[in-house]
């Protein structure tokens, strides 16, 4: 080839020019051109944490936020803890909800069940949010806080994490224990044993009980407290039959001076009864006419009356069973506060006429909303109702149960005293009903406490777990007509097939599935 001088020169120059643009990866200006930043969004590194409130609050609130999640405190929660029990049925129309929900009512629950999977995934999501906050508390050097603040913040997160694992262990048995922000290579973790899971929960809740405040400023009402930690801890012990520890933990709540049984039973479940002296741990929801749902919880809506027009309040799920109805002593006023009857001529607790022809004879009256709020918020959906996770009466009855099981005349006597304090509040001054239990016999007291737990806490999500820990789930469920129930299999939900698949078999199925 023949190239002229000029051509040569130009080729040389263009080669240099090309070399320049080729190495432009090192040119500062070009790198700056590529260094775009997220628009209108913070990263965890540059988030300007709020002044005034606790320095870790934004992360902590991210975890609290998830308590309101549909899966943590609405449909899956209701289905797995209540519809599964002998006290409640699915409700609504026969085929509503499909196989996922219908089989939770009358078994067997398949490993493909979407609700089981949602419970698994979202409790871990809550755990992950706690771990994000814990990571900030531990590792973010940009946030200056003294040791006490750090300990209290850590305690809040470990409370919520312990609560999540407690839900998981009761639903699924032993589960993978994830206690920090893990990288991907470390997040495919096998299941721990149930015992190891309980030990982990105890550590979290014990730390929380030591480091949480007894109460909060009113602007933070509903944040977790020492009482909540001790109360849940009592239930954790009770579930493991660690009676003495349970008695101590419950006693710590009862002697804290923060709680009492002064709130009338009927008021406890109303909007006015939220965060009262009865409240140990409540998931908080609120609404306004401008935000009828976004800051609330779908809890009441799912159980709301399935009518039309102004009585189109919800899905009509979780209806009290005839067995629950029969469990009340004659004249017990708690029955009417728990069961909303829809027979012709019925009235709601606020005096409204219940329409005829509703698809179900009974609804959960504890979630029935006040019409004043319905019109105030322009909504029939009840998103403003808090979810009572732990009430003081529950703590008192846990104390009674634990003390009775520890045994000895003195403990049995204080158990009966505690039991009667709950009955006295229910009696509400009417001496003709709910007489005091008088016994020194441990077995008689045990039965009385169990029956009291059932009616006092009816439709409050403990019944199924109580049946399992008392070892009477098979009999109770059979008696309630849930004939497909097989305790060996159905005391626990299946480990979701989707999770087993995702883990490529690192997770193992539960017995019987």
């Amino acid at each position: 080839m023949k190239l002229s001088n000029t051509t040569y020169k130009t080729l040389k120059q263009s080669a240099i020019a090309f070399a320049c643009v080729s190495i432009l990866s090192t040119v500062a200006g070009c790198n700056k051109f590529l260094d775009t930043q997220p628009q209108g969004a913070y990263t965890l590194e540059n988030y300007p944490y709020q002044a005034g409130a606790g320095p870790y609050d934004t992360y902590i609130f991210g975890a609290y936020n998830f308590l309101k999640d549909y899966n943590i405190s609405a449909a899956p929660f209701i289905v797995a803890t209540s519809i599964r029990s002998d006290d409640a049925d699915k409700g609504s129309t026969a085929s509503d909800g499909g196989a996922d929900v219908i089989t939770m009512d009358n078994f067997p629950v398949l490993p493909s069940n979407g609700i089981a999977n949602a419970l698994w995934v979202n409790h871990y999501t809550l755990i992950n949010r706690c771990n994000i906050a814990l990571d900030q508390i531990k590792n973010n050097t940009a946030i200056v806080a003294d040791a006490a603040v750090k300990a209290q913040s850590e305690a809040e997160m470990r409370f919520l994490r312990g609560y999540s694992y407690f839900m998981l262990v009761r639903l699924f048995g032993g589960v993978p224990l994830i206690d920090k922000l893990s990288d991907v290579a470390q997040s495919n973790v096998p299941r721990a044993t149930a015992a190891a899971t309980y030990a982990f929960i105890e550590q979290d809740l014990q730390f929380a009980a030591t480091n949480l405040p007894a109460s909060w400023d009113p602007k933070f009402i509903g944040r977790t407290t020492r009482g909540a930690a001790n109360g849940i801890l009592a239930k954790v012990y009770l579930t493991q039959k660690k009676w003495a520890e349970a008695m101590n933990a419950a006693n710590a709540v009862m002697t804290s001076g923060q709680y009492d049984l002064s709130t009338p039973y009927t008021r406890v479940f109303s909007e006015e009864g939220e965060n009262g002296k009865e409240s140990v741990f409540e998931i908080q929801g609120t609404a306004s006419s401008t935000e009828p749902t976004a800051n609330g919880i779908q809890y009441a809506n799912i159980q709301g009356v399935r009518g039309s027009g102004t009585f189109d309040m919800g899905w009509g799920w979780n209806t009290p069973s005839p067995q629950l109805e029969a469990a009340y002593e004659t004249g017990d006023p708690r029955k009417d506060r728990t069961i909303l009857y829809t027979a012709a001529g019925s009235k709601s607790l606020y005096g409204e006429d219940i329409p005829t022809g509703l698809p179900n004879p009974r609804y959960n009256n504890k979630v029935y909303t006040n019409p004043t709020y319905r019109s105030l918020y322009n909504s029939r959906m009840g998103y403003w109702m808090n979810v009572r996770i732990l009430r003081y009466a529950d703590v008192v009855l846990m104390y009674a149960e634990a003390a009775n099981e520890v045994g000895g005349a003195q403990n049995i006597a204080s158990a009966v005293t505690a039991l009667n304090s709950v009955r006295a509040r229910a009696r509400n001054g009417n001496t003709a009903i709910l007489p005091n239990i008088v016994t020194t016999d441990q077995a008689v007291a045990r039965e009385a406490i169990r029956r009291e737990r059932r009616v006092e806490l009816a439709m409050e999500h403990d019944r199924f777990f109580d049946l399992v820990r008392w070892g009477i789930s098979q009999d109770a469920m059979t008696a309630a007509g849930k004939t497909n129930f097989s305790a060996n299999r159905d005391n626990l939900l299946p480990i979701p097939q989707a999770q087993i698949d995702l883990s490529k078999g690192v997770l193992t199925p539960n017995p019987g599935y």
């Binding site: 000029t6 080729s22 051109f33 965890l44 129309t93 499909g98 979202n122 009113p218 006419s289 039309s308």
Partner: protein, 1007 residues
């Protein structure tokens, strides 16, 4: 001395000819005509071999050029074989033969063009005229079945863009869509183009052809060239067509009688009380009520004017498409102005401006709603609408009430302006510098209105009396959104092009490009609890609802994004004696989406070709073969089509914590970031041959390719609630064979015909999930699984073997512990005697491995007839729409054959939505996706020029066409075309919009 002076003079004036000119120059005149019809050819470029003077023929085909007496003249014209003739006398009349089917045609190869005969990769071209024949508002739809390896899944929704996949699935991240390069400007779609404005579309299929686009080329490139106007002519052309769209097959759902029968059976099976149908006497076909025959119309007017110094193209377009789902309606307006000015022979500048405006009225009802609604409910009674029965009321609305309530309550408009400026300077004879700057601006805005609800009639059931209800909690509201997208691109290229003595041709190119895009979005909504905002668009602005009104709901939002890319590139094309071809490219790219440490990557390609038919021995041995080329190429490119900021987790605002009635803001992340995020790298080879034989009447092209994507950008669902991870996972391989062939001939003088077809096979295989990754990748509720050794997102589930007829059946055959008669029986894949999760297996792929197209053309005198068909085979479609079980929904007709007792059915399980086993994903929910569709059948008539001459009309053609008039398929949905939008969860039919048949009448006229 004189000779030296002449030399200097020529160097100065004629821009540095490397070969000195010694001879005298003469002026040569002549006329260029078409070899076949002997008509003059205007616009033929006449140049001197080796550079120098250049001119063009005028309207009558005449030219004048001055050349040395020993020079060689080169006559080039698109679509014709170039002629090189040594100067012989002062008059040189030349006849040019039409080139053998596009061999001389230039195709877009990225930052330049190349002649088809010099290619070493796989590039398919489709002529704009062919596209214009198909009534479609989106020109891409018309490519279906025309290009081997190109899978297009059309949507019937008005104004919608189809899903386009080129040569299998190369990525698993957000977008597997190819990019569009419109006259050099990189675009993500060509919705804004007027179909009538397209000169040609080049589909760059293989890795070597797109390597020059670096990390934007990962999913292939579709290059669009718009019409530029023939030189020396002023022409006005008008294209118009109008048609009717009709849904040919609706989904077979039960009517009222069928529904009553099945729902009663379901209640009985589930122990529910019988339903009281007394008041439910209607028999409503909800699909029929929301579907309609809809209008489509496409019109464009193009004026071109090309003179000595400038070329102008002005084009106007108006397209309207009504949706077949009521009241979907889409209109688009286009305007384009293209101007090129040749300041001197060596300097030209130009500008192009596109304006695009759309007005969209979306449909307010979903097809699933019409499929689900119980047929026993009537539509309305006066102004009051019937609510669904109590068993559906909470979940399913009256589709017609929804349609009527929200009709024309959304005003969705968009404007798009894109423009470019370029300057091109030729210097030192062989160099061309070209700089272009582009801007693309999009402005979209919507205004919406929430009307008051209708009064609903709740029909009485059992003891519940009939009642009416007007929901007082639903109030009027308005909303507004506005979005803005800004893109700026610059390209600078330096090209060196030279033919050396001895048959060497060399083109070298170096360039630099940047692309910067940013977006801003704002939205707001207000609901008025005090006043009723009138149903009149004049009021639909946020401010019409007072901020201070008690109870008024006010929400707003806004966000933005920014992304930039920079790259440098080079290319060398070398040909020796038109026999041996070498094409090589290199590109280095950086992108802001990727973590800084891995932000830059190098891509490139090399291709080799051998035109055997140019060899003398070949010409002797195989004279019947006009052209034969063997080619092979390797290419490496990248992909970064993943969400912004994937390597740094941004916090998610909008979450809050509630304590009492106090609300506090909170922070969380919604994905797990990988700080070491890298590009996906796609590497592959392409090899094949092109052949033309029997006087160019036969042509064929065969390509084999294999390409592997490494380090797939993937969004991974993690167990235990850890937010999804965005990271680089394993490798996918796509290999395939593409074949296309055509035959064009004449019988007698007047009858012309052409047959062409193409076939492609692609095998998509995940070759590795990635080191250290121990999770299972799955999507769409574990329906689609991605695993080593199988296709991406294959269907994974149980195989139905029948229905358990009796308890004895269950004890005899493998079953679930809780199987009951009437349940689906599944195959015991692992042979352990029971059915369990371990019996799930590969059930098929959602991506069609085989696709083919067939084109027939006949012309006799003025008449022409074209038929085009297209099909796919080998894929499966997931009937997701049948899996909905959240409430009792209307049944598809297959359920009428449901099992009711031993021997009644061995396919359809009993009607009971509590039987979870029957909802497990299995072959019961799959249908074969094979189909063949008659895409277009068209008959046209072109009037004879002689007749038109009196009316000063140059050409006039009228045609009638039927599109999608017949489909052969086993699917039960509205269309058999697989939904491929979400790569890892493809193939689901969850209420796909119908692809209607279109009957249209059209007219093309030019003056």
């Amino acid at each position: 001395m004189k000779r030296t002076f002449t030399k200097i003079f020529f160097l100065a004036v004629l821009c540095f000819s490397a070969f000195s000119v010694f001879a005298q120059s003469t002026t040569i005149k002549g006329k260029v005509i078409d070899a076949t019809d002997k008509l003059p050819l205007p616009g033929v470029t006449v140049t001197l071999s080796g550079g120098g003077n250049a001119t063009q023929t005028d309207v009558n085909g005449n030219y004048t050029i001055s050349a040395a007496s020993n020079a060689t003249l080169v006559f080039t014209y698109i679509g014709y074989t170039t002629q090189q003739l040594p100067v012989s006398g002062e008059t040189m009349n030349v006849s040019l033969a039409q080139s053998s089917r596009n061999l001389e045609q230039v195709v877009v190869v990225g930052y330049g063009t190349q002649k088809r005969k010099d290619l070493t990769g796989s590039i398919s071209s489709v002529n704009g005229d062919e596209l214009a024949k198909q009534p479609s508002i989106n020109p891409i739809n018309a490519l279906q079945g025309k290009v081997p390896g190109l899978t297009i899944s059309t949507s019937g929704a008005a104004g919608s863009s189809p899903t386009v996949r080129l040569r299998g699935i190369n990525t698993t991240s957000g977008s597997a869509d190819p990019i569009y390069v419109v006259d050099g400007l990189i675009q993500t779609n060509i919705d804004f183009l007027n179909p009538g404005d397209i000169e040609s579309i080049d589909v760059l299929r293989d890795a070597s052809s797109v390597a020059i686009y670096g990390l934007r080329g990962g999913n292939g490139v579709i290059a669009v060239t718009t019409k530029k106007g023939a030189k020396g002519r002023t022409s006005v052309s008008f294209q118009s067509l109008t048609g009717i769209q009709h849904v040919t097959n609706t989904i077979d759902v039960t009517d009222a009688a069928g529904f009553r029968k099945l729902y009663s059976a379901q209640l009985a099976n589930q122990g529910g009380a019988p339903f009281d149908y007394t008041n439910y006497t209607a028999n409503t076909d909800w699909q029929k009520l929301i579907l309609r025959d809809a209008l489509i119309s496409s019109n464009s007017l193009t004026v071109t004017n090309a003179g000595e110094k400038s070329t102008t193209v002005l084009s106007l377009g108006y397209n309207k498409q009504e949706g077949v789902v009521k009241y979907n309606d889409y209109q688009k307006y286009n305007i384009r102005l293209n101007e090129e000015i040749r300041i001197t022979n060596d300097i030209k500048i130009g500008a192009n401006v596109n304006g695009f405006h759309f007005v969209n009225n979306p449909t307010s009802v979903s097809l699933n709603n019409a499929l689900w609604a119980a047929p026993i409910v009537g539509v309305q009674n006066g102004n009051q609408y019937y609510a669904m029965p109590s068993f559906q009321r909470a979940q399913v609305g009256n589709p017609v009430a929804t349609l009527d309530r929200f009709d024309r309550t959304t005003i969705d408009k968009g404007y798009r302006v894109n423009g470019s400026l370029f300057a091109e300077i030729k210097f030192l004879k062989n160099f061309t510098w070209r700089s272009s700057v582009y801007t693309n601006l999009n402005f979209n805005s919507t205004r919406g209105y929430t009307p008051l609800p209708f009064t609903m009639i709740n029909l009485g059931e059992g003891t519940t009396p009939t009642s009416t209800f007007l929901d007082p909690n639903i109030r009027t509201g308005v909303s507004q959104t506005s979005g803005e997208l800004r893109e700026y691109q610059q390209d600078h290229t330096l090209t060196y092009e030279k033919e050396f003595t001895g048959g060497h041709r060399l083109t070298a190119l170096a360039g630099f490009t940047t692309l910067h895009s940013s977006a801003t979005n704002l939205s707001g909504a207000r609901t008025d609890f005090n006043l009723n905002v009138p149903n009149n668009p004049d009021f639909w602005y946020l401010d019409v609802v007072s901020q201070n009104g008690t109870g008024n709901i006010i929400t707003n939002g806004g966000n933005g994004s920014v992304e930039s890319t920079a790259g440098a590139f080079g290319r060398v094309n070398y040909a020796y004696q038109n026999k041996y071809l070498v094409n090589a490219t290199i590109r280095r790219d950086g992108n802001s989406k990727i973590s800084p440490a891995n932000r830059w990557e190098t891509f490139g390609s090399i291709g080799l070709g051998w035109v055997a038919s140019e060899e003398n021995f070949f010409k002797t041995a195989l004279p019947g073969i006009n052209y034969f080329k063997l080619r092979g190429a390797f290419g490496r490119l990248g992909n970064s089509s993943i969400q912004n900021y994937a390597f740094q987790p941004v916090t998610l605002n909008g979450t809050n914590a509630v304590f009492g009635d106090n609300i506090y803001s909170a922070v969380t992340t919604n994905y797990t970031a990988d700080p070491n995020l890298r590009f996906e790298i796609i590497q592959g080879i392409d090899a094949g041959f092109d052949i033309r034989a029997l006087d160019n009447r036969f042509n064929a092209e065969v390509s084999y390719y294999s390409k592997t994507t490494k380090g797939l950008l993937t969004r991974v669902t993690l167990p235990n609630g850890v937010p999804p991870l965005l990271t680089n996972l394993g490798d996918i391989n796509n290999k395939g064979i593409e074949f296309s062939a055509g035959w064009n001939d004449k019988i007698g003088k007047d009858f012309k015909y052409g047959i062409s077809g193409n076939f492609s096979y692609v095998k998509n295989k995940v070759t590795s999930i990635g080191p250290g990754f121990d999770f299972q990748l799955s999507n769409n509720n574990f329906i689609n699984v991605t695993q080593t050794g199988q296709s991406v997102g294959y269907f994974y589930g149980y195989k139905q073997t029948g229905i358990y007829q009796t308890p004895a059946d269950i004890s005899r055959t493998p079953a679930f512990a809780d199987s009951q008669p009437g349940d689906i029986s599944y195959a015991d894949i692992n042979g352990d005697g029971v059915i369990s999760a371990a019996d799930r297996t590969y059930l098929g792929t959602p991506f069609p491995p085989y696709s083919y197209g067939l084109n027939l053309n006949f012309a006799y005198k003025g008449f022409d007839l074209a038929a085009q068909g297209q099909g796919v085979a080998g894929n499966k479609i997931y009937l997701q729409r049948r899996t909905a079980a959240f409430a009792p929904l209307n049944y598809e007709a297959n359920r009428l054959n449901a099992w009711t007792g031993p021997g009644t059915s061995n396919v359809e399980p009993l009607i009971n939505n509590a039987r979870g086993n029957n909802y497990l994903f299995s072959t019961y929910f799959l249908e074969p996706g094979d189909y063949f569709r008659v895409r277009n059948l068209q008959i046209g008539y072109t009037f004879s020029p002689a007749l038109l001459k009196k009316a000063s009309i140059q050409t006039l053609r009228i045609f009638f066409s039927g599109q999608n008039i017949k489909t052969w398929s086993k699917t039960t949905g509205y269309t058999p075309e697989a939904q491929l939008g979400d790569v890892l969860a493809s193939g689901a039919d969850n209420g796909v919009y119908p692809v209607p048949a279109v009957y249209s009448l059209g007219l093309n006229v030019s003056f």
